[in-house]
Amino acid sequence: MEVAEVSKFLAQTIPFDQLSSAQQADTALQLSVYYCQEGEAVDISKEQLLIVRTGIYALYSDKQQLLTKLEEGDFYGYQLLLTGLADADQLICEEDGLLYWLPAAEFHQLRYQYKNIDIFFQRLFGRRLHQYKEQQGSRFTLKVSDVVQARKVAISGEHTVQQAAQLMTEKRVSSLLVEQEGRLTGIVTDRDLRTRVLAIDLPAATPVQQIMTPKPHTIDKHAYIFEAVQLMSRFNVHHLPVMDNDSSFGMITATDIIRSQQDHPVYLIGEIHRQTTVDGLEQCSLQIANLAQVLGKQQVPAHEAGHIITTITDALTQRLIKLAQVELGPAPCVFTWLCFGSQARMDQSINADQDNALLLEREPTAHIADYFSALADFVCQGLARCGITLCPGNIMASNPELRLSLKGWSGKFAKWIASPTPEAILKASIFFDMRAVEGSKGLFNALQHDILARTNNALFLFHLAQSTLQRTAPLSFLRNFILEHDGKQKKGIDLKKRGISLITDIVRIYALAQGISEVNTRQRLQQLALLGAIDSKETQNLSDAFDVLAQLRWDKHIHDLNQGHDASNLLDPNILSGLQRHQLKDSFAVINNAQSSIKHRFCKEV
């Protein structure tokens, strides 16, 4: 007779839950049961199916790489049963528990008898292969430093153009850095030698500094390649000096980039900057979903993908502003196009909406007001056509309340900080993550400086912390799903509301308390760790948790896109692998810990 406790478990375990109760009882009768102790290596050499009843087991590859963690309801041994080939894996018990073993004969009989069971284990096997591939796969996104060799070819400004030409020939390069006492002063390319020397018949003894391009645009060695592409397209140049801090490191050319990644999807950015009509931009934007899928296929990590998607939104915005100015004429005063929220933090995904505003040099009166009203409408409507939907909360430059002078904005922020009403706090979570997309950087810096001088205000931080603490991470999601309903969607964990934004909120509070000007969550965490504002272990944990959640959300979005759905933040925990479930649980635990730190730090004295 079968043990009811065992057959009851099978009845709740995929794929056995699909069997009749008689068949479940029958299967329960075939098992043997083993108690495993922490630290014990499970014997997985025999041809039988392992079913995890309780406990946690870590699966390592032969290279001692952690592949996954097995938990209640997980399986092992199906690969050997299905293929006859044993893996050189190791399964180590991490937490005492019970294992069930199903003998090979019974496993195969179930497979032959029930198609669903067969399909289930075939799929599991497929996924496992994928897991291995994922571990080995190389990351695709390159950085500038990956492409440029540290082979700097430089000349000083007093040398003659002839010497420059000789050096270029000798080193077989098409451009030179021009330096004065170790500082970059300009560049000279072979095109310069042609157009600025030969064509106008200057003597070979002309000094380089007379014909060089002074103060060239530069790119940081650690920037992504696509950022270099963006700079080149925007300013129509083909050479960018690569900087390592303040000194030059080398030169990156358009040819370098093309050679390094001929099929890189972010050429889209270059294309955006070439468009002359909103229709053209709309056409470009249709490629974003495709691009996201390519990024997904290439397993670009979520934070890089977020960076790329944001850069595209930025490019669209910048181009739309240019096009608006073609139509409306030059701006009557200096301005800055601001963005907030995820765009500001550079972690946009494909379902983001617009959050933007205008910062003006002068008070928006009369013709200035009219001009920027028209510009904002043009850009916001243009962005909407490009798939970046209008903000339901009307946080857009097209809203006249969000087209203010420095004084206007400064007053607005000062009011939110001084009297933190629930509404002001809600706004804080959006507006305090702010970045300049286009226009005057100086104007923006002035505003940010002004705001950050005020934010270390105990009462304000107290209320900000309070509102952050109102939402918690769904720690016990595995046992009893704490799920939310979302009108048209199925149940699941909201990765954004119950995960990512909780971390963003926590990190923002610390950043505002410290007056840190970074808005990207990872960068804020780095800064906070440098300043010692949070201990380095906690910053590391938060950063890891943020990556895990962002990755899950990004994967979910890609999955949704592939299925032809709208990208949704709701995740069904049932589709996760053991390792992912683990990471998710760990991440939620990190959030809860961080929340209690916040409580101690900011919520006691007021």
Binding site: E2, V3, E5, L98
Partner: protein, 219 residues
């Protein structure tokens, strides 16, 4: 007229055969032995007045519970199950498929010689079994019992843990090892639970623990 006299020696032989294959020596490492976890449901607490209602058992070989050989028998009662039916969930009408106690005991003798027996609070089960063997076979086989309750008590004492009143009840013992808890007062479920508890106790002992050590702990 003398048919009962002829039958008796055959049964008596079963006991002799059982005794002929002795369980491994006391110095044997406990992890290598074969066990049978057993549980009885009875109509009461007194072996002389009450009856066995059901018997459940699960063998352990190589530290693995072998569910294919798990058994559960309803025992035909000599009288109505009566009052304690509520307690065990066994009713007279369920007893259609019930077995003769003598047949079940015979099976046990035939299949589990050379095993050590495990029970949670074995005193009671043992008393009922011994009386039944005496009654049907004229002889009590040499069965060595290991008591998971006593082992648990011994270990908690040794660790200086203050025990609550029902700390040693089977479900509470299982919970301490984070083992799944079955429905109670079903002979097979309880035998299985007892086997789980024993596997855990065995793992929590040092690797070379012998039968003798365990018998000392389960006194």
């Amino acid at each position: 007229m003398f048919a009962w006299l002829k039958k008796k020696p055959a049964l008596y032989d079963d006991v002799k055969r059982f005794n002929a294959i002795t369980a491994p020596a006391l110095s044997t490492p406990a992890r290598t032995c074969r066990y049978l976890a057993i549980d009885l449901e009875t109509t009461g607490l007194h072996a002389r007045q009450d009856h066995i209602v059901s018997i459940g058992w699960v063998p352990i070989v190589d530290q693995q519970i072998l569910l294919p050989q798990a058994q559960h028998f309803l025992i035909k009662p000599p009288v109505s199950v009566g009052q304690s039916a509520i307690y065990h969930g066994v009713h007279d009408k369920d007893l259609k498929d019930a077995s003769e106690l003598s047949e079940v005991l015979q099976l046990l003798l035939q299949e589990f010689s050379g095993h050590y027996f495990i029970a949670h609070h074995c005193r009671l089960d043992r008393a009922f079994l011994e009386l039944a063997f005496q009654r049907y076979f004229g002889k009590v086989p040499k069965m060595h019992f290991i008591d998971t309750l006593n082992i648990e008590w011994y270990r908690m004492q040794k660790q200086g843990i203050v025990m609550k009143k029902d700390a040693l009840r089977l479900p509470n013992c299982l919970a301490r090892y984070k083992l799944p808890v079955s429905a109670q007062h079903h002979a097979l479920e309880d035998a299985y639970s007892c086997a789980l508890l024993y596997l855990a106790q065995l793992k929590k002992s040092h690797a070379e623990i012998t039968i003798a050590d365990l018998l000392v702990q389960s006194r």
